[in-house]
């Protein structure tokens, strides 16, 4: 197979790619990464060996495309992620850093820290491999995982039937979290029902959009991340902002900038936060699930919660600790 031709076609892809608005590129596959990938060469050799010779000479471009397609299908391996982790002695974990004790950047060292990071570090430690952290956003985390930029996600992602369709997960939850609303003290909104017909800020990719629109009739405005959404709330662009309770509770409890605000409970669609992996990566999720069960058994998660001053303490962690202590 002539690699030069393949590269030529890919460079045409490049030209098309860079003619789109720059902000879109975040959501698509970067062809430069594709080009560098050794996968193509490997897979093309594999295809070449089985393709009839007439096809080889005439349809080089088709072969290149088929090789590129194999790159994304990952069908050949039982668990490519697990092989990759073992091979590189490294696990790449996508973490969400929403600010606060669940994940933020240390202003002094610019290093990520918090709950999500502690969990990622312990997984790497128990697997005996190095750790690479990739910061993800709610709007791009699934794509980053699917494209192989991260091996697993610890990103405050609750289990939903839709995500279950396209991804695999470690079944034991490491936290339980739902959405609460934050409103100014003077606001007339007291219950979720009061949001009918009002504008509510949230982040793009939030799974509270659906219950807010269908159940409570609110009109939602999605911002790039929770930081922009909260700023928009401060600018009176919406009457309330809805985010994970673990993000909003620390704000009203401890942050002097948010003293003029209060929250609205009970939690909206409380869900189980689990560790996500690509679809079908059974070895990876089995290994991770064992680690998560170990955390509950030893009470390590409760200790970590205490260490990070997360309040109010989650009753779900106590419940899970009791459950796994016995087994």
């Amino acid at each position: 197979m002539d690699m030069r031709q393949c590269r030529q076609h890919l460079s045409h892809m490049d030209m098309v790619f860079y003619s789109f608005p720059a902000s879109w590129r975040l959501f698509t596959v970067d062809p430069s990464a594709l080009k560098q990938s050794l996968f193509i060469e490997e897979n093309m050799n594999a295809i070449e060996s089985v393709a009839p010779s007439s096809l080889k000479s005439n349809n080089k471009f088709l072969l290149a495309c088929a090789a590129a397609a194999m790159l994304f299908s990952n069908g050949a391996h039982a668990d490519a992620t697990w092989d990759k982790i073992k091979q590189r002695h490294k696990i790449v974990v996508g973490v969400l850093l929403p600010g606060g004790p669940f994940g933020s950047l240390d202003p002094a060292t610019q290093k990520p820290n918090g709950w999500n990071v502690e969990l990622a570090e312990d997984i790497a430690r128990q697997l005996g491999v190095a750790l690479e952290l990739v910061q993800v956003q709610p709007s791009n985390r699934v794509q980053l995982l699917q494209q192989g930029k991260a091996d697993i996600l610890i990103a405050g992602m609750e289990w939903t039937p839709e995500r279950n369709e396209i991804l695999s997960f470690a079944p034991t939850p490491f936290y339980r979290v739902g959405g609460i609303a934050i409103v100014p003290q003077s606001s007339s909104i007291k219950h979720w029902e009061d949001l009918r017909g009002k504008e509510v800020c949230l982040s793009q990719g939030s799974n509270y959009a659906k219950p807010l629109t269908t159940e409570y009739g609110a009109s939602v405005k999605g911002f790039k991340s929770s930081a922009e959404s909260l700023l928009a709330l401060r600018g009176n662009n919406c009457v309330a902002a809805v985010h994970d309770a673990i993000l909003l509770n620390p704000l009203v409890n401890g942050n002097p900038e948010w003293q003029g605000y209060r929250t609205i409970s009970p939690e909206l669609i409380p869900g189980n936060s689990v560790v996500w992996a690509r679809k079908g990566e059974q070895d990876t999720v089995a290994a991770i699930d064992k680690i998560v069960q170990g955390w509950h058994k030893s009470g390590w998660l409760i200790a970590t919660e205490k260490k990070l001053n997360i309040s109010p303490a989650s009753p779900a962690l106590v419940e899970l600790h009791d459950k796994f202590k016995k087994s």
Binding site: F20, P21, T28, A209, T213, N236
Partner: protein, 247 residues
């Protein structure tokens, strides 16, 4: 009948591995179509405002009045040399918030996110238009202006009746270039939750994870939109062509 056709179409595409099921959910279909309209509205509004701003800035740039040309130059450099997204965040998240606090007792802040997107993009692209038009204005031979002056044209009349009509012809390809870029730039509206086509697509694909399918629609839509701008530009070029002047 229409519904049947639509669901049939979605089924056929599903056979090709493309999941367009969001078109069958009324709320998402309406949101997507509304996004198309908002993007077209945004494009038209920003085109109009940016051209006005561009013309005004260009006139200031070539003005013999020092304070006019210098302040225009300072503005062009400032807007041209900073990223649009940063400008938008700065305007909407910072400036708008401060404005809201000031106007709290005066009946609230009437400015919408749509307004902020149109003004930020118009000012940004206006600076580019101004530079394109300046190229046209300065390409006019001095003898033409002397001829105009000898016919009794005042400085202002020279500018509007002689310089601008000629400059527009010189600058047209470059202006159309700017306008094509402007249409694509409207996608930054999604960053502050203005319901344009990109925003609606993001909201749909974060729920359904059908990024590829929506991206294809977005590309087709923007391809068609910029092609229309291009066609309009070509038509204008032919229409404004002066025999004996250039090609």
């Amino acid at each position: 009948m229409q519904d049947q056709l639509l669901s049939h179409g979605v089924r056929v595409l599903k056979g090709f591995g493309l999941n367009y099921e969001f078109l069958l959910a009324a709320s998402e279909r309406v949101a997507f179509l509304h996004g198309l309209v908002v993007t077209i509205e945004l494009s038209l509004a920003t085109m109009f405002c940016s051209l006005l701003i561009g013309a005004a800035l260009a006139a200031m740039l070539v003005s013999p009045q020092r304070w006019l040309s210098w302040s225009a130059r300072a503005f062009v450099e400032l807007t041209r040399n900073t990223p649009t997204l940063v400008q938008l965040y700065c305007a909407f998240l910072v400036f708008n918030m401060l404005l809201t606090q000031v106007l709290q007792n005066a009946g609230g802040n009437p400015l919408t996110p749509f307004f902020w997107v149109v003004s930020v993009i118009s000012l940004h692209k206006g600076a580019f238009h101004a530079e394109s038009l300046r190229a046209g204005l300065q390409a006019i031979p001095a003898v033409t202006l002397e001829a105009a002056a000898s016919l009794g044209f005042t400085r202002t009349k020279q500018l509007w009746l002689v310089q601008f009509p000629l400059a527009l012809r010189f600058a047209l390809p470059s202006l159309i270039n700017n306008l094509v870029d402007l249409v694509k730039m409207t996608t930054i509206a999604s960053a502050i939750a203005v319901g344009d086509i990109t925003y609606e697509s993001i909201m749909i694909w974060t729920q359904r994870d059908n990024v590829l399918e929506l991206m294809l629609l977005l590309l087709l839509f923007f391809g068609a939109l910029t092609y229309l701008v291009n066609l309009g530009g070509r038509w204008l070029e032919r229409r404004l062509r002066m025999p004996g002047y250039g090609q």
